[in-house]
Symmetry: C2
Subunit: 249 residues, 2 copies
């Protein structure tokens, strides 16, 4: 039986990639993925059939992976971050639905919520919601509904795709909705180019995320909950341990 691994390679650098992901690629005859991601794992693909597609869409790329598997090959279909979070692990199974003889295996990776949170300190220590502001595949009304629900119930909110080429005001509108339920001073932060050359982080107040030209479509944004604090320049959401300030003294 042929197998397709849908592999999350993490934010970029090899140091974030799990041994399981390295092994899946090693086991594969063919590697399929967006050119940028395939390039990040170049040293693992020697001697393999590599199909890197810059110009084609996601559905077509999944179709290429399926065709290779139907031809008897073991395939790694790679995406950045975690293939299971806004990644290709779902679409691959939809495309392969009529071929139950092909085993599809998700190999998890470090998604931007986790790697971004680590760069900012520890903002995801309590309940959180992950929301993409991209309205390419999701109606904007539903995105607004989710933002407001998450804000009202005091979730830490992690935002993917805060801006798009066409729409620069998505994040501003999200921030306005969150501020209906949360202080404008809520400690928040963002990270650009996580785990790659040129990584940048900034910790700031919720209202300062508005009209912020430094934030682009490749930025991950985290808005704290009502308990989130800045400790020594880092974003920290307490879990609520009864800490009396005496430890370590």
């Amino acid at each position: 039986m042929s197998k397709i691994y849908v592999v999350g390679i993490g934010p970029g650098g090899r140091e974030y990639m799990t041994p399981q992901a390295v092994r899946a690629i090693g086991d594969s005859d063919a590697v399929v993925g967006y050119t940028v991601y395939v390039k990040l794992i170049e040293e693992l693909t020697d001697g393999k059939e590599v199909v890197s597609t810059a110009m084609r869409g996601e559905v077509e790329r999944a179709g290429i992976a399926l065709d290779l598997a139907l031809g008897g090959k073991t395939v790694s279909f790679v995406s950045s971050g975690d293939a299971g979070v806004y990644g290709m692990a779902g679409l691959m199974r939809e495309v392969a639905e009529d071929h139950p003889e092909i085993e599809v295996v998700t190999v998890p990776g470090i998604t931007a919520a986790m790697s971004g949170a680590a760069v900012l300190g520890a903002p995801l220590i309590h309940d959180f919601a992950v929301i993409s502001l991209s309205d390419l595949l999701t109606p904007w009304d539903l995105i607004e509904k989710r933002i407001e629900a998450a804000a009202e119930a005091d979730f830490v909110i992690c935002i993917y795709n805060p801006k798009s080429h066409k729409r620069r005001d998505h994040l501003d509108r999200a921030v306005d909705l969150i501020m209906k339920h949360r202080s404008a001073d809520t400690p928040s932060g963002y990270v650009k180019n996580i785990g790659r050359e040129g990584q940048e982080r900034k910790i700031l107040r919720l209202s300062e995320l508005r009209e912020n030209d430094d934030i682009d479509m490749f930025t991950t944004v985290i808005v704290g909950n009502s308990q989130t604090r800045v400790i020594n320049g880092e974003l920290v959401t307490p879990r609520g341990y009864r800490y009396d300030g005496e430890a370590g003294k």
Copy 2:
């Protein structure tokens, strides 16, 4: 300047642990953690000072890590999953707040939401909320509010700590709240002992999570959104790509 790495070691097996985590432990003079987790990384701690504490609480453990760092040592404070998701990365910074000279670094890992989702297929492909049902440190009212908000706004919901020793009905109450807004037939699933000996998964309907004695406190539960489907025995949440069923044919 002394450094404390708060290291997420992933679900258990070494194959989920990133090279960054392995290097942080390698760089450390001392390793601190709950006995079970320290045992999982035994082969990495040779020749290091190891403080594994089965009996002490989280605050005391963080205090031990701080004391070692104040004594000039580089320390790895390990937790399972991602240290930044319900993990020690927050508490460590709270405990070290008065010592800005100690650098605290979060090393992210694969958290149960990601590793559990991978085992079930691809349920987290769209917006999701992560909620812990443990009311040890969080008022139950707030937990209920978050569950209902997430259910109403059609988030995929990932549940940590679905049951506790004292309270066996937390998950039942959560499911009842979700069913106010979502079909009893919503495809859902759970995973036990993720990435460890005895890993088990089950895909079932939302209502079948009620009064389910197979689910214990170490189980991760995922409830699909209104679009989640079962494809070839796996849980899949579509992202919404306009897929015409023609790829790969």
